[in-house]
Subunit: 384 residues, 2 copies
Amino acid sequence: MGPGPSDVPTAVLEALSRQTIGHLDPEFVQLMEAIKSLLQTVFQTQNPLTLPLSAPGSAGMEFCLVNLLEAGDKVIICQNGVFGGRMLEIADRIGARSVAIQDEWGQPVDLNKVAEAVREHPDAKLIAFVHAETSTGARSDAESISKLAHDHGMLVLADTVTSLGGIPVEVDAWQLDAVYAGSQKCLSCVPGLSPVTLSERAIEQINKRRTKVQSWFLDVKLLLGYWGSDSRRSYHHTAPVNSLAALHASLTLLVSEGLPAAFARHMLHHRALAAGLQKLGIEFLVSESDRLPMLNSVLVPDGLNEAAVRRQLLDHYGIEIGAGLGALAGKTWRIGLMGHSARSANVYSLITALESILIQSGCGRQIETGAALTQVQQIYESST
Amino acid sequence: MGPGPSDVPTAVLEALSRQTIGHLDPEFVQLMEAIKSLLQTVFQTQNPLTLPLSAPGSAGMEFCLVNLLEAGDKVIICQNGVFGGRMLEIADRIGARSVAIQDEWGQPVDLNKVAEAVREHPDAKLIAFVHAETSTGARSDAESISKLAHDHGMLVLADTVTSLGGIPVEVDAWQLDAVYAGSQKCLSCVPGLSPVTLSERAIEQINKRRTKVQSWFLDVKLLLGYWGSDSRRSYHHTAPVNSLAALHASLTLLVSEGLPAAFARHMLHHRALAAGLQKLGIEFLVSESDRLPMLNSVLVPDGLNEAAVRRQLLDHYGIEIGAGLGALAGKTWRIGLMGHSARSANVYSLITALESILIQSGCGRQIETGAALTQVQQIYESST
C-alpha cells in the first residue's frame, strides 16, 4: 500500500516466470503486437506509436522530453510536486529553455497560470505536466491543460505514471501528444517498464528535428526498428522478455475487468479508506475535488514519529505505506490503493492497524475504538 | 542457444516470481547490498561503485559513455563489430570527438593499431572496446588494451556483455575503469538489467566534469543516492524489484559453482560443439585463438537458406540460434552456449538437428551419419 509497486496478481507472476524465450522469437513478436494493442486500449488511443519502454517510468519521462525537445527549444513545465521538478531537471540537461509554472505541493496545476504562460510565451513548443502527482496525491485537469496548449499551437506532454488504469486517461479525446506511465502502479505489473504513446503531431515534430536525439537508448526512431510495424524486427536492444510477458498478463486482466469497472473500484476503496481515516482524525493533504483515489496523501498526526509508524506497520502487520517526498518528507504519508492493491482487505487491515497504533501511541485518546471500521463497512455496504 | 537471452534456471525463475515488495523495503535494501557484493565477486573487483542498472546492456553502454565523456572530449573507440559501432554513435550524440580504430568483423582488436592511436592522440581521455563481440564471436585482449591506455594516461571502458561469467573478466587485475554487462547472457538471468562497475579513476574523472551528465536516468551521482552506501536510500526511480531478486539468485548460483568452474564448463561445451560442427563441415568465422566459447559464430554452408534453417530448428526442435548481425547478416549463424545454456544436452540436440537438416537439404552429401555425434561424445568422455 505504498506509492507503488503495487501487489502483483498471481496470474501476472506466473506469466513473468515462464521460461525466457528469444526477443526475436516469432512467439514473442506476436506477444509484442498484443501488448501494443492492449496499451492502446488502456491509453484510450489509436496512436500506432504506443509501446512499453524497457526501463522504468523515469526513463519514460526522459524518453518523451529528449525526443520532443532540442537545445534552445522553449518548454513550459508545470511543477506542483517532485515529478514536475524532475522534468525541469531533464529539460535543463537537454539545453532547453524552461518556463516553470509553480503551484503549491498538494494543489493541482492552476489553469489560470497555464493560460497566462501560453500567452506570455507563444514561442514555447511544449507544455509538460503531471496528471497524477505521486508525491502529493493531487490530480490536475489534463483535458483543460491540453486545450490551452493546442489553442496556442503547442504540444502537450503528460505524466500518467500513477493515473493510468486507476482514473480516466483519455489520450485521444484529450489530445495528449506524449504520454508515459509505469508498469508498477495501477497496472499491477512488476516494476521496470514504461508504457508510452506519441500522437501524430508529436511524430511530426520529431521528424522536423535538426539534431539527433541525445540518447541512443531512448531514440524513438531506433526503437521503432524493433517495436514498429515492420515484421522483420531489427535488433535494437534485448527486450526484457519476462517482464513484457507479465505486462501482457496484467493488461489482459485490466481490459477483462473493463476500464470503467477498474476506475469505480479504485474510487470505492478510496472512499472507504477516506471514511476510516476521517474517524481516526487523519486529514488529507489534498482537497476532496482534486484527490487521487489511488494515492492518498495524508498529514501525519502531531506527536507521532512517522518513520516509526511506517516501520511498525511493515514489521507487525506486513503493510507498506510510503513516506512523504521532497518538501513533504516527514509531514505526510502516502497510502497507495493501486491496481490489485485496491481491495477491501487492504483497507480493513490498514485502518485496523492504524487505529491500534494511534491508541497505543497515546496520540489517539479521542479515538472511539471500532468506529473507523464501522465507517469503512458502511461505505462497502452502501455500494452493493 | 541464440546470442542471449540464455536459458534461465528454475531457481532464478522462482526468485523472479516472488511477490513484489517495495523498492525501499528494508528486506529489499538487504538484497541490494548482497547483489552489489556478488557483482564485485563476478567482476573480480573491489570497486565500491558496482551495481546493476535498471535497463538492458545497451543502456549500460550509454551509462558508461555519458558519465565519462563531455562534449569536445576525445575518445578512441575500437570497432570490430556491431557494438563498437554503437559506441561511436553514442559518443557522437555526446558531442565527443571520436577516433575510430577499425578491424575486420571476426578479428580481435589489433593491438598495434591501438598503440598507434594512443601515440597519435595523446589528448584522448578514454579508450573504449568490446571484450567479447556478440556480433562476431571474437575475443579481444582486454588486459593489453588497458595497459596501452593507462601507459598514456587514458581511462579504459570495456563491454563485457557476453564475456562476464563465461570467460575471465578481471576488472581490478586488468585495471579496467568502466565496465558494463548484461543479465541475460552467461549470468543466465532474465534480460533487462545491466551490471556496471566504475574504478576510482573513473569516479575522479566524473568528479571533474564541467557539465552535467546529459542523461538524468543514467547519471551515476543520482543513482548513488539509491544504490550507494548511505542506508537512507533516497528514491531515484522504482527499481525492478523482481528482476533484481532474479539477478541475486543467478549470481548466487554462479558464485556457488565458482568462476573457474563456470569458465571451464563454457570451454568444454564449446569444444564439444566445435568438434561436432567440424564433422558437419561447418566452419567458424573466428580463428581458434580468438574464439569466444559462449558465442560461436559460424559460416552458413553454401546453398542453404539460413533463415529457413533457423526456423526449422525452432519449429521442429525447439532450438533457437541467432542470425548474423550487420555486415554478417545472411552469412553467419551465432550459436550461444551461455550460462545455463552451456550444457551437453544442448550440444547433442543441436548437432543432431543440424546433421539431419543438412542431410535433408542435400547440402550434406559428404556427411557421414553419426560421425559428428561421435566427436561430441569423445570430447565429453575425454574430459571426465
